[in-house]
Every structure is written in C-alpha cells, then in structure tokens.
Amino acid sequence: MFASVLVSGLVLGGIYSLVGAGLNLIFGVVKIINFAQGALLMFGAYFSYWIVTWLGIDPYLTLPIVAVGMALLGYLIQTTLINPVLKQERTSQLLITFGISLLIQNGALALWGPDIRFVQSFAGYDTFAFLGIRVGVSAAIAILGAAIIIFLLFVFLNKSKMGTAIRAVSQQSDSALLAGIDVKRVYAIAFAIGSAMVGVASVLMIPIYDIYPLMGEQFGVIAFIVVVLGGLGNVQGAAIAGVFLGVTQNIFAVYVSNQLSVAILFLIFLITLLFRPQGIFIRKMRVS
C-alpha cells in the first residue's frame, strides 16, 4: 500500500505544482497576496467548460483559448485595479483582490447557478496500472502538462529578455526602475502570464476535478504554500515544494490522521515561514 500512497502523493503534488506555477509570478513578482487566485482558477475552468459545451471539442483543445483569455483578464486586473494602488497600503491591494474573488465567485453563482459541472476528455476515467499502483490517465496528463509549463516558465524567465526584466523586478523593483525598466508594465505582463498559467492549470484539472463556484478555494490557499515553500520566484523550487506537499499530505492521511491531513499543510507552511530566510538580497537586520 505504501507504494500506492506514495504515487498518489506524487500525483497530487504534481497538481499542486501546476496550481502554484502561476502564483509564482503573481506573488513572486508583483508581491501581492492574491486572494483571487482560487477564483481565477475556477473562472478558467468555467471558461473551458463553456467552450467545450458550445463547440463540443475535447477540453484539452481549449487550452490555447483559455490561456490567452486568462492572460488578457490578468493583464486587465493588474493595469486597472492593482497598479493604481501599488504604492499604497498593502491591505488595500489585498482587499481589492478579495473583492475580485467575491465578484468572480458569486458572479459565477448568480449567472450559472450552484450546479456541479464536469467535462469528459478523451481519456475518460481510464487508468494506468503498474504492479498494483494505479494512476488516472488525466492525472498523468496533468502532471506531464505541469512539467512542461514549469519548464517553459523556467526557460522564459532565464533565457528571454522579458524574463530577465521580470526577474530583475522580482528581486528588487527599485533598482529595476533605476535600470530603466517599466516596472508597472512588467507587473502587468507577469500578472498576465501568471493568469495564463492559472488558465492552463484549470484546463488540465477539469478532467479530474469538477466545476462549481467554490472549486478553486482550497487550491488557492495551497498555491501560496507551494510558492512560499519553494521560494518566491524560484520555479524549480516551487515544483519540488508542490510534490513534497502532495506526498506529505497523503502519507500523513494514511498513516497519521486523515482528518488533519489538510491542517498539516498549513503547519508545514507556518514552520517554513518561521525558519526560511526572507530574500537574500536584503541584508537582514536583527531587531527582535
């Protein structure tokens, strides 16, 4: 059984990495606590769902449209709602994203009702089985997709000019400004790419998870754990962190306490926050 638990944890971890990938840019670069992360994930899922319903295509084929649509939405959110309050109190940014989350979640409820919706991909609920260890095909696709987009993100950040600008801004926005980088534009692009990745996550997830207005809530919280655990802006770190969390959650659920298996993630998160250094670029001053 241990092997099965471990593999299920790896699979879950892959999904966590996928969900965290987009937030890496939003939280890691723009540095806002985005309460709307889960709502955006849900919105992407509905987006894909409606395309599937109208066009009758396989959900995986909606990926480019959803990614582009979500990127536009993200760009719009950053330029119209977040950029104007960038220099203000952090709480006002946080509450704006909370407002966005209320709007998207309850807007979806008001428009489309509370029904649980689902899509069928070509993979259906098929399963790979190997030595008694079983993995859903759609889960395997999601993990493969996660690996690809995380790799692409890594390449983008490290090899492209825009990626370099994003990293510069992520590390120190003030110096980036001095270096002639249009920080607000970089933020908008980072938010857009982050949202596009959330869209990709949505599409890859809906063959596994069903679609309803609150579907993204839990994943939104977990995304923060993934990103902080892996290190802000650290793409590979987040991927490893996601896997670590998934494995921990499932092993804990089986061998310690099923009911506290979600709480343990929060505890790991808290302990990480206490002990990990917060950015190597700021020389840390002891004050307390």
Partner: protein, 248 residues
C-alpha cells in the same frame, strides 16, 4: 573609570572593539577589527566604499552579530545585546539612508525618542524645542514626516538621536545631502555636544571635513583598520593620500 588609573598618557576608552570578524555568504567583510574609542572624543572612520564601515556600525549597534570578536562598552561585553537594549545603554546611531517615522508628525518623531533612555537629561520638552529650532523644523512640528525634503529628514533624524541623550553617537555620513551652511552649524553643535562629554564616532567620505572635526581618525580598508591616529598624521600619510585622495 578603571582605565584612568593605569596609563596617564592614554584617555579612557568608552568603547572597545576587539578582533571583530564578519562575513556574508563566504565573503569576509570584516577581518578582525581592533579599535578603541576614547571617551569624549570625536573619532572619524574613513575608507573606500565596501570597506566594511557600515557593517562595523551595524555590529557595534547590535543590528548584526559578529562571527567572532567582542564589543566592550563601558567595560561590559555588549556583543550579544539587541539594538534596542544597546540604545537604552546610550549607544545611538544614524543610518546612511535616513530613517525617520514617515507616517508620524515631526513632533511625534521626537516624542518617540523622548523617554526611552535611562540617561535622559533635563526637560524633554525644552530640549525638543531647542533641537527643532536648531534644525530649523519648528514651523513643521505638526506636518507628517513623509512630506519633508531629504535634507529636512536628515536633520530630523539628527534631532531625533540627540533627543535620546546618547553616551556615544555613531553617525553614518551625517553631512551627505545637507547644505554647506548647515554643515558648519552641525559641526559646531557636535563640538558643543563633545564639550558636554558626548563621545562621537562618524563615518565620512570628506577627508578634510573629518580632519577638521575629529580628534582621531581610523582608516578602514579591506576589512581591517589600516591605521588609526591623529588627523594630521593620517591626512599626511602617503598611502592614505594615494588610496583615499587619489581623485583629488
């Protein structure tokens, strides 16, 4: 003081820095600093950028912990004290980049420093008024500090640290960004403070100014004290001229 009895020629040391070493991520910033700061004197610390001057200040004032070595203040080892405890002992510093409380008013900025010190002297109200007049901020008492210009902020910080009645004052580039007229006044004020018994240590790039103000000068290069002595000796040293005044 105990040291007074021993060497007649040497004034007592209020602050003793003993073999202080510090490295950041494998880079040795301080490689064993030894320095005695004499009570009631003004000591200047000069050296090129990155020589470790600010790090030394950070360690003296408790913001950084040395990897090795000791800081002895008034005969007690204070190496492990947190900054606020050092401040209460009378070790007060300024920073290269001004640090004031931007969302508080000018008056409140002084209030914060009014009574936390054990060696507060005199009426703090009068002292505050006097200090505000000195730094020409009397007209702005109720303005939010964020509205001050850079120079004004720097002056406010100066007033702030004096509000605290320090025993030893560590000034990190106090004259940068302040208009020349005021610099003279500040120097006069520093001398006055010195005459009242305050010990002052300052980091400054402007060697002539340091030479004019200080009783002794320590030169820091590459994480060690290259030399320490009277201003005229330092200013006329060929190495200092070469390394430090090369551009002039």
């Amino acid at each position: 003081m105990a040291q007074d009895c021993g060497l007649v020629t040497m004034a007592s040391s209020i602050l003793s820095i003993q073999n202080v070493k510090k490295s950041f991520g494998g880079l040795d910033v301080l490689k064993g600093i030894n320095l005695e700061i004499e009570e009631g004197k003004i000591t200047g610390i000069i050296g090129p950028n990155g020589a470790g001057k600010s790090t030394l200040f950070d360690i003296i004032s408790g913001y950084q912990k040395a990897n090795e070595g000791k800081i002895i203040f008034e005969g007690k080892d204070v190496s492990k004290l947190m900054p606020h405890l050092l401040a209460r002992q009378g070790v007060i510093r300024t920073f290269q980049l001004t640090r004031i409380f931007r969302n508080l008013t000018v008056a409140e900025n002084l209030l914060v420093f009014a009574s936390n010190s054990k060696n507060q002297k005199g009426n703090s109200n009068e002292r505050a008024i006097e200090l505000l007049e000195f730094v020409h901020l009397s007209g702005l008492v109720n303005d939010e500090a964020s509205t001050l210009s850079y120079g004004q902020s720097k002056l406010l910080e100066f007033a702030q640290v004096l509000m605290h009645s320090p025993k030893i004052l560590l000034l990190d580039e106090p004259f940068a960004g302040i208009n020349p007229g005021l610099i003279d006044q500040m120097m006069q004020h520093l001398r006055k403070l010195q005459s009242e018994g305050l010990t002052i240590v300052l980091i400054e790039h402007n060697l002539p100014m340091v030479a004019k103000l200080c009783d002794s000068i320590a030169v820091v290069t590459n994480g060690v004290i290259e030399m320490h002595g009277a201003p005229d000796v330092i200013v006329n040293d060929s190495r200092v001229k070469e390394v430090f005044l090369g551009g002039h």
